[in-house]
Symmetry: C2
Subunit: 349 residues, 2 copies
């Protein structure tokens, strides 16, 4: 495979000159540049990334770790972050953990092996071990929800409370009195793990409901293990058997997908019989039947924050920051006014 020497030889210049044109410095005379470019093209020269990164001692690479690339929410985030990073002249390498805390550590180590200049950790699960590792290697990072902010760590706090409050309020305003919250957690055996965002969402729900208690609002929470859709489906079946409710909020859109399915299987109509709200506002929401009302986490804004934090820290040594990301409720057709004079769930007995 052609090396920089070959190009230099063919163009009749030194490797330093080739390096200069490859890296877009304007210190090369136009004529020389053309010769070099021609040689590059002729030899199909493609710089060895390992050699150049090693020599340079620094990379323009950001790392991104997500829990599950198959979940559209994570996929959309990965896409948005990649766009942002490219705009700033960075590449991004993405890793996935399958919600495993061990895989998280492995992924972080891999990223450090890659000498990423900054790392975004947008996972549901967490492992304090990685903080130590990152600090040891002076790798700036931005987290989602995890509250530690210092010279190199930033944190983006997603306003679950605000989003869930809006969702609950919306349901209350529609006349719903009994609201169900449907949760999943990724894996049975890892129940002890701290799936922070899931916990935060749950707390947010409880807090929101509390604020409406005086108005006679009641709530229930059902939880099932497993991947989102399956968990949602199982949970809603259980809820239909045991609980009374006229509205439900799913902890994430994939869960809502399962809930919708379960409801449908039992002949419960959405939104006539039960109103349903999802969380994340994946592109899917728009195409479900009925289109799903969902709490939106603005991806583009999130990606911008993430990359901005990282780049500022890397390039200007700015310290980490605590950022807040607002959420909003996107109303579609899965929610409607509670039918007058009808008891919650009376028809599912």
């Amino acid at each position: 495979m052609a090396r920089i020497y070959d190009v230099a030889a063919l163009a009749g210049v030194s490797t330093a000159t080739v390096s200069a044109v490859v890296n877009g410095q304007n210190t090369v005379e136009a004529k020389t540049r053309r010769r070099v470019l021609a040689a590059i093209k002729r030899l199909h020269y493609q710089p060895n990334l390992y050699a150049s990164n090693l020599a340079r001692g620094t990379t323009r690479l950001l790392g991104l770790i997500v829990s599950d690339i198959v979940n559209p929410f994570f996929a959309e985030i990965a896409y948005a972050i990649r766009e942002q990073a490219h705009a700033r002249g960075y590449e991004v390498s993405v890793g996935s953990t399958q919600f495993s805390r061990e895989d998280l550590v492995a992924a972080v180590k891999r990223m450090i092996g890659l000498r990423v200049s900054g790392l975004a950790i947008m996972t549901t699960e967490m492992n304090p071990q990685i903080l130590e590792i990152l600090r040891e290697h002076r790798t700036p990072a931005v987290f989602e929800d995890v509250g530690t902010v210092d010279a190199t760590f930033s944190n983006i706090r997603i306003d679950y409370e605000g989003g869930i409050f809006k969702a609950v309020k919306y349901l209350v305003d529609l006349g719903h009195k009994r609201i169900l919250f449907v949760r999943s957690y990724p894996d049975v055996e890892r129940q002890g793990s701290s799936f922070l965002s899931l916990r935060l969402r749950t707390l947010a729900f409880q807090k929101a409901v509390r604020q409406f208690r005086s108005e006679g609002i009641q709530s229930e929470i059902v939880t099932c293990p497993g991947p989102g859709p399956r968990a949602g489906q199982q949970a809603i079946h259980r809820a239909l058997d045991q609980l009374r409710f006229s509205a439900a909020i799913a902890i994430a859109d994939p869960v809502a997908l399962g809930v919708l399915r379960g409801l449908h299987q039992r002949g419960v109509r959405v939104p006539q019989d039960v109103s349903l709200i999802g969380f994340d506002n994946s592109y899917l929401c728009e195409y479900l039947c009925p289109p799903l009302t969902s709490v939106n986490i603005p991806r583009a804004k999130l990606a911008e924050m993430v990359v901005d934090c990282l780049v500022r820290n890397v390039e200007n040594k700015e310290p980490g920051r605590e950022l807040q990301l607002e959420t909003d409720l996107i109303v579609r057709e899965s929610t409607s006014r509670m039918a007058e004079g009808r008891k919650s769930r009376v028809r599912f007995r």
Copy 2:
């Protein structure tokens, strides 16, 4: 950041020894190994991937390029390939093209910069330029549908014909006489591009229908630009305005998603009024209302073929192969028998 020298010094050994234990050779005495391991842990040593890959002159890295990581089908493939690769001791780096032929070339070049030892190109779009580039750099590759097989290129031919034939036959057996095929193509301006898999699916549909012509089966094709769901939605609206049909096949599941939505908007019931079949069998199918009958492309099998081809070529210099991947029809609830005595689409006028 700790280097191999630091570890060697702390452990009182040479860098060669450290390298040996890091790379899991058994040529190191247990006691020495322990000392080295302790030093590694103490210094949080994490090998510089660039240095080691450069020195090694080879990588255990496979590349994967897909068209759109947000599409669940591609995401699932990426996941499956990663699993397979890990099992064989390879890492994988994934890139995305957004269906752009230029981005394809850029992605391939990046992969070559990474010196991947093999590359899987699972994209809808194609650009002959990359064949040349890959050949020039002696990078083995496996393609989807593109028929060039030689010493280093393999090809996995997905049996669209079989899958679509099964879908059409199934509809015919249910009594449907007028079958619609709904296509999308990723972008208006790139209409000239060769989205091979899309073309193959279309041809497969036409061929299948031809075989039933004697039985009085008629067909129509509608096409809209843009990303799957939107295209599907627009297309089906147009079809409802202009065409007669009692069953539809979507060229891909995201398109089916849009079709389902459009049908719903117009009050057309699935499957009572129109039967619908998707293509790819994403996990979504199961959770749509109604659950979507879809042609399945076995992901795990595909991933296994891909990684196997690549690894065999890399490790044993086996020449490329032409593989066939069978498809099958997964029947769910979006298809049903054509109502007796009812004209196709009579109720949508």
